[in-house]
């Protein structure tokens, strides 16, 4: 990919992101009240989307071949356990990532 193509790509990503941020305010930010269906979706979607994003991050894990995703399982498990214990975002992310990096580089 050339440098120019890379710049174009960043511009596209920035543009779509900005569009997504502004569009609710352009569509619903007026005097009218938000339709109940949209309000419902805005309430439930975040949970489902976050579930999807977790799956997305792990999409390339091959359970059938060694090490069978064990680094991700242990790393992810540490993230969740740390977070349930301390509710500290920084600690949970750093702790889980460090364990994962250790497993990936040293153990497996």
């Amino acid at each position: 990919m050339t440098e120019f193509q890379g710049i174009l790509m960043v511009a596209v990503i920035a543009g779509v992101t900005a569009f997504l941020r502004f569009i609710p305010f352009l569509v619903f930010g007026g005097k009218k009240k938000t339709p109940p269906y949209i309000t419902y979706l805005s309430g439930v979607l975040p949970y489902a989307i976050m579930g999807m994003l977790v799956v997305y991050c792990l999409k390339n894990v091959n359970l059938l071949a060694p090490p069978h995703g064990i680094c991700e399982l242990l790393g992810g498990g540490i993230v969740v356990l740390l977070h349930l214990w301390r509710r500290n975002t920084l600690l949970s992310i750093a702790g889980g990532t460090v364990i994962y990096m250790f497993l990936v580089q040293v153990v497996f």
């Binding site: 990503i13 992101t17 997504l20 305010f25 976050m50 999409k59």
Partner: protein, 189 residues
């Protein structure tokens, strides 16, 4: 309680700490892929969406097409649509600050080999927080289940769009029982 600048700053400190770590990880990762300071600064300034910026590294190094990048951004950042919806009333009278406030809507929970796991960890943290924040886990489970099924059927490179479609359809179909549950919950109060 009067909301002062000082108070707001103190409340945002944990988020800032998270951003510093993620930002440094982002910069380091970009560098290992051959993109320098200019790229890190520009992406952080103009995209200003951490998870998307990490995905962007994949897109840039993987030679994805512009259409793929646009679609992936739609998928990954779609949740910003819904942040906006929940802020419509709150931002109504903010005047000149409104565009900046809208631009800077983020997950707010920000709150070399293996450092990309930080993104997985971040999403797991958000997922855990969300799980703890409600008793009704139907939506979260739907999201994971639909995504896994679509992942198996469509493969890692194509499952996001079908998954989002399936999630939207399923949640729409389940709207009836969600609202029944809400009503039942209110009766018991």
């Amino acid at each position: 309680m009067k909301i002062t600048g000082k108070y707001a700053f103190r409340q945002s400190l944990p988020v800032m700490a998270g951003y510093l770590v993620l930002g440094m990880g982002f910069g380091v990762l970009l560098e290992t892929k051959g993109y320098g300071v200019f790229w890190a600064l520009a992406m952080s300034l103009f995209i200003y969406a951490g998870s998307m910026q990490y995905v962007a590294i994949d897109l840039l190094t993987g030679g994805a097409s512009l259409i793929s990048a646009a679609l992936m951004t739609l998928m990954v950042n779609a949740r910003h649509l819904f942040y906006g919806i929940s802020m419509i009333e709150r931002y109504r009278d903010t005047g000149a600050a409104k565009p900046y406030l809208i631009f800077s809507l983020t997950d707010e929970t920000y709150n070399t080999e293996g450092i990309e796991f930080a993104m997985t960890a971040l999403f797991l943290v958000v997922f855990t927080e969300q799980w703890k924040s409600t008793k009704n886990h139907i939506s979260a489970v739907t999201g994971v289940a639909a995504s896994v099924v679509c992942l198996v059927i469509f493969g890692p490179d194509r499952f996001v769009i079908p998954a989002m479609a399936a999630i939207t359809v399923l949640l729409t179909l389940m709207r009836g029982c969600f609202e029944k549950k809400e009503k039942a919950g209110q009766k018991n109060d």
